[in-house]
Symmetry: C2
């Protein structure tokens, strides 16, 4: 799984602490010692998913498009990873000797169905948690908020 998901999650939480004003990707990257250009790429993915809005020009940057209560872990993962399909069925049952000897398959591949069930459980667990829940256990102490604000000027 891509490392950008971790970057995106922490960055979204930081954006919430700061407040409404847009913050540049360079500052957001410096806050965690990340590659500015690459974080910018992830932020653009978040912008396409309408999780953040980009403000061009001087004093521009990114700000949250929704409150954290409206952003789930699944939203972020799908925004960064694109297709969330962990297990991709290539229908190997239709190839080789078995595929030639068998009639065209009628239902879905049983292997695929089983893996999809597990993946569905993952999706539900991701969708059940919002970033607001993480904020609750992360920034319980006011000290953390203060540090984040001072780190982002």
């Amino acid at each position: 799984m891509s490392k950008g998901v971790e970057w995106a999650l922490h960055t979204l939480l930081n954006l919430d602490v700061v407040g409404g004003g847009p913050v540049g990707s360079a500052q957001l990257a410096e806050a965690h010692g990340l590659s500015p250009s690459y974080l910018n790429k992830q932020l653009q993915l978040l912008a396409r998913a309408e999780l953040v809005v980009s403000v061009p020009g001087p004093r521009g940057g990114f700000r949250l498009a929704k409150p954290l209560e409206a952003i789930t872990l699944l939203d972020v993962v799908e925004a960064i990873e694109g297709g969330t399909e962990l297990f991709h069925c290539t229908e190997i049952r239709c190839g080789g000797k078995i595929g030639e000897l068998s009639p065209p398959p009628t239902g879905r591949c049983a292997v695929n169905a089983a893996m999809r069930r597990a993946e569905e459980a993952w999706h539900q667990a991701l969708a059940a948690q919002s970033l607001a829940d993480i904020r609750t256990e992360l920034t319980a102490s006011p000290l953390v908020r203060q540090v984040v604000r001072s780190a982002l000027n």
Copy 2:
């Protein structure tokens, strides 16, 4: 997620249909039109995980080490993928300005904890399904078994 998981699952199911006799990796690969050498690599991973046993020499090959009832989807995924960690926390909270200004973190990273919860749901769903369950819905008709047996000589 690696493509080898799909190959391994189908191959294990085919090994069950055949019965006890060892089957060579070349035949198993030809059954689904796969790369023989690469499938062999996956089978070695399954052998290290004690899901199959390898028999060297002529008339050798691989056979199941356990009945399908004792093999879960999680066993196969862990055997092929090694570390099953979907989300790997790199502790970026300890780097950059925020890391420098903050005191050493006490508990676990809240972001990591949330992702772990979702991953745990995935693991449980994988562990809850055995290959015997898949066999039930896959080889319901005797025709399928017959095709597999004839494809593997």
